[in-house]
């Protein structure tokens, strides 16, 4: 099957974004300075490249477009759930990152001080990434 170049790019870059997210959390967890430029770059790249790509594909898969008829209903529901989960994961990452940056200025370590919240966020983020990669594999390899 012919896989669009941007689908490959998005599927691979998503893993680098995840590495960036883990790096931001890990540095804070290890009481090291918050990498704000990296945090901002990851946040904007994720929204303007990866999520934009996903939203574009989701719009094409929506009713009223020729592509929509070629996708099974169960896959569409999976797309929609992944879309909402990605929104939630992204929103939480940015807000928690901003809090961590501010707390660090006062000598506190936001992620380290809130392990339950941090682990919950990491689990949600991981599910969001794994479902995204699963959609890529299911769409183009099965």
């Amino acid at each position: 099957m012919n896989i669009p170049a941007f689908s490959w790019f998005s599927a691979i870059s998503e893993l680098f974004v995840t590495a960036g997210v883990l790096y931001v959390v890990l540095r804070n967890w290890n009481r090291k300075p918050f990498p704000f430029p990296l945090f901002l770059a990851v946040s904007l790249f994720e929204a303007l490249v990866n999520v934009m790509y996903m939203a574009n594909r989701a719009a094409e898969a929506s009713a009223g477009h020729p592509v929509a008829h070629t996708i099974p209903a169960s896959m569409k529901i999976f797309f929609a759930v992944h879309g909402l989960l990605s929104l939630l994961a992204y929103l939480v990452f940015v807000i928690l990152g901003v809090f961590a940056y501010q707390e660090q200025k006062a000598g506190r370590w936001f992620f380290r001080d809130r392990p339950a919240l941090t682990w919950t966020f990491l689990i949600v983020w991981t599910i969001s990434i794994v479902t995204g990669e699963a959609i890529f594999v299911m769409r183009y390899f099965f």
Binding site: S62, G83, L91, I95
Partner: protein
Amino acid sequence: MAAPKPPRPTTRAQRLRSPLLIALWALFAIEALTGIIVFFARLAVGRAPTVSLHWYAGYAFTLVYAIYQIQHWNRVQPLRARLDHVLGVVATSSLVITQVSGYWVGWEWFMRGRPMGYTAFPPALSATHNVMSMLAMTFVGAHLGAVLLRESRARAAKRSDHEAGLR
């Protein structure tokens, strides 16, 4: 004789309770909720059940938001190299692009006679509107969170200084 005008809110607590901001939050919540429903339903079941409410509430949101943003800018200007200001600029830009792209999507819908089942919005335009609304929700939350956290820290520091002075 005309009734005296109520005083303009001055403290953060008063501003958070102002009718304008409450109306803005209510409309923002309606827009976010109906937008999420439209996104999910268009994709999963091929319908856009709350699109009319999303469209008409969007008009009201733009009006209330414009008034709020002018007042807000007059109060916080000039722009400073501070986290809450940077987040505010990203939030404002996202909100403006969301509304412009929303009117464009709405125009497509309106020009087709507002059919209930119509969902074939142009993909790139629909994607831009969805992503920008996600950025708007995220950065409005981050902006507000940053401001409230900074103030709560300042209050705690003031209280601690006061207690140290009493000892």
